[in-house]
């Protein structure tokens, strides 16, 4: 990630604060910009931490932040925005992987597929991720904020307090959203 890339990224991030900013559009742009970097970043981070402990999504998101954002130029609020986007990126990463992975397992017919054994054992895992992703999309249609809470918590590894900051609501509200989401998703996933 070069300085100029970093500056570009920060500039886009800061557009969030403009009057009448097209927030979904900006989020999408940022997501696009950071996704590939995040992947490589995560790979490297994971390898460094392989001995001893597993990867912390928060550590990853933090790392991404350091790499991608010029900290001196952004407010805390922008940082919160970033966390949200990073969580979205992680979700996409997992879903993409699951999708590709299960497609590969079903077999395209033409090509032998080599998969990492440590990960290739359990196809159920792939379906679980996909199921959660789909359920979460459905849930977001009724309760967008609660769905966001799930994304930040599950995919972004953020704590309740951090989520409250990111979403600019009280910790109590986040607690409530999280409880509701667990129940709703719990029923949805078990009924499948």
């Amino acid at each position: 990630m070069s300085e100029s890339d970093r500056s570009d990224f920060t500039k886009i991030l800061l557009q969030m604060n403009d009057e009448g900013a097209d927030k979904p559009e900006i989020t999408h742009k940022l997501l696009e910009a950071m996704y590939p970097d995040l992947r490589i970043l995560a790979q490297n981070l994971m390898r460094r931490e392989r001995r001893g402990h597993t990867l912390q999504p928060t550590a990853l998101v933090h790392e991404a932040y350091v790499k991608l954002v010029d900290d001196a130029r952004v407010e805390w609020q922008d940082r919160a925005q970033f966390m949200g986007i990073a969580a979205r990126a992680m979700r996409q990463l997992l879903v993409d992987h699951a999708r590709r992975h299960s497609a590969a397992k079903r077999g395209g017919g033409l090509q032998r597929v080599t998969l990492d054994d440590s990960f290739g054992n359990d196809m159920a895992q792939e379906f679980e991720i996909m199921a959660l992703h789909d359920a979460l999309r459905k849930f977001a249609q009724m309760d967008e904020r609660a769905a966001k809470v799930v994304e930040l918590k599950v995919f972004g590894g953020l704590k309740i307090q951090e989520i409250a900051h990111v979403l600019d609501v009280s910790k109590r509200t986040v607690d409530g959203d999280w409880a509701m989401a667990r129940m709703w998703l719990g029923r949805e996933l078990r009924e499948q």
Binding site: M90, G109, M142, G176, A179, M183, W184
Partner: protein, 843 residues
Amino acid sequence: MDPKRYTRVKEILLAVRTLHGEARHQYLDNACSDDPDLRREVESLLPHDTTAPAILDEGALEERIEGALAHAPEGMVPPPLPDSIGPYRILGVLGEGGMGVVYEAEQTEPIRRKVALKLIRRGLDTDRVVARFDTERQALARMDHPGIARVLDAGADSSGRPFFVMELVDGVPITEFCRSENLDVPARLRLFRLVCQAVEHAHRKGIIHRDLKPSNVMVSTREGSPSPKIIDFGIAKATNQSSTDEPALTQEGHLIGTPEYMSPEQADGSGNVDTRTDVYSLGVLLFEVLTGEMPYHFDTHRYSEIQRVLRETVPQRPSQCVPDGPGADRLRKQLSGDLDNIVLMALRREADRRYRSVERMEDDLRRHLEGQPVTARKDTWTYRTGKFVQRNRTGVAAGGVIAALLIAFAFTLARKSAEVVVERDRAVAAERVASAEAETARQVSDFLANLFELSSPGETHGNSVTAREILDRGAERVDEELADQPVVRGHLLYTLGGVYHGLGIYDKSEEMLRNALELQRDELGPRHADVGRTLSLLCTVLHDTGEYDQSVEAGREGLAILRESLGTQNRDVALTMSGLAVSLQSSGNLEEAEPLFREAADIFLELDGPESDDFAWCTMSLGYLLHAKGDDESAVGLYETALATQRRLFPQAHPDLAATINHLGGVRMSLGELDVAEPLFRESLEMYHTLYPDGHAALGVVLHNLGVAQQRQGRYEDAETSLKESLAVNRRILGNDHPYVAFGRASLGSLFLEAGRMQDAERELREAVATAQLAFGEDHPRTGSAWLILGSALRDMGRPGEAREAWNRALAIQSAALPEDHPDRLAVRDSLATLSEAIDAAH
């Protein structure tokens, strides 16, 4: 659920989840007093508050994120990421391979850009690697092609490991791209042509890649169409251990790198690496792009094993390697023919026999895409080297054993080949350089060269021209165009006759040779050496059509003429002797055959020494003769000797080799070693299948022997399948009256006899006797054998009178034809004696 309703449900749930027991019930009663649906909804969600799915637990996804990210291309965990290597700042890992790690890196001087940096694994001599790269640097700099990633720099890191810096390429390996984009065959071929064009560009600049494989051919979509980029040009050469291109090995003799894409000349370390090495690797790549499979699979990295496989095996046709699945049949159809030929032409073991350049290969792909005939041909046909056909000697024989009576049927096809003819052509041309006949020789070569040059599209019926079509057209043209040049015409007819015989098309071969003979006698005189050569070949052809008497006659005349004009120590003379000996043996005249084999063997030994194919062939033939005389032990010894030589001489499938293996199986079977015999037959069969994918009389013979071996192990169903298949092949290729058809019927009949299917047995055996009478004559020992088995069947059916009659006929024939102590004769006498006793006892 509408939003209002959801909000209400959420409100109730969040309140009630903190309540327990009676309080919870009261709250619910109140909140949902007039709405049972609402209550049901709440109560269906509430239990999940305490038992949410594990996937939502804190940290539940960590491992999966790790898994998703750890899905590195080569499944290896690299060392920690360095901050920088040389002047390059490291940004991340792009991939890993056997040779090392590829990083995404940033270059600051002379311009700021992202690059790919390949760090070579420890253990290679940095100074030499870098020095070797430096020698290629200028050549590499001259390459300028959109399909080639530029190599920018090379150096060493702080610990002395060499690295290369390349243009950063996005995209995925070509095989992955084709699969994920689900490209159809034409699209794959168009993409592959672009790859060929890039490689050709490099070749023109004097750079050979040496390590083409999917991970070095990256494809991305540019402006809506797939665009390949080849990486690592110049790197394989620089990183090779030695300047002679020997493969990199570990101390234990294990190969470093990917063996599947390695050409035979790279694997054998001969150092003969040139642009055709890349042609080979492109062949492997195309194979994989089209089928998803690779032509060779190596379960091992053991170098000696890889060498052995490359040396001894022939890749299957791509169309035969398509894995089952949706669309598999269609794909097989698309690949068979031209594309099979194109891929296999690139994959030929000998570089000389591959496409001469990548451009030619690319051109063939273009032709195929445009529906034009391609230049690639099945492996049996080589044009450029001037070799007419591959060595195509067919010598098949075996102890086809009739189980019940231990009578060995001797099957043989004479060995004589189109190649012999062509070799003669060459020798003759050399002899005649100074004479007026040089012109004849030249015209013959021109005509043949012409014939095999690719015919223009308008002249061909389909997209590709089969060998048979070329020959038939050639035969027509000989008559049309050379009517006024009888000598040239005679010579060409002789040559074509040899080629038809080599392909197993016996009727055409005989026709050509008889016409040649007539012309040559008229034009050159009846005692000319060419007349002798044609007679010699005719002897072989007539043998294989089962006309043994005529064959012997032609052989004798041919041998006399050739001895007269060429002396005794001559290859043509020796070849004619061994051909005549085969015919004599087949006609039952073993006594005259044996000295001829021995004399021919002596001549070959004198001419070529013991390590020669002709001498090995004669050794084997002699073994076969001793086998036929009942001396199995001596036969085994001779076969083993011949086989050892042939295995050294022919690392791949070869007709001589296949014949000896079949013979050895036959004698092992006679000795009762069925577990040794069966695998030998199978090996021989497989070899013939490889050599003659379109069928050949040899296949019928070996199938017969396999069937007999199966029968003798009590596997009647397998045996019936093999024997019937053999019979079908023989009838199709040799006709209904051929001796082998008689043998086949006799064997099938004796199988039925042994399996207790008496009606089937009698029917088949009576057919066998009738066919034998036609094929051999009434008094031939083989006809006697057929009577013998029929007698056994009749005895077992409880018809002793008819049995004795049949056996008496057999004995009468054998007494006249076989020595007194011949095992067949003894067996019949014993049988008759036993039968007589039984009949007498019954009276």
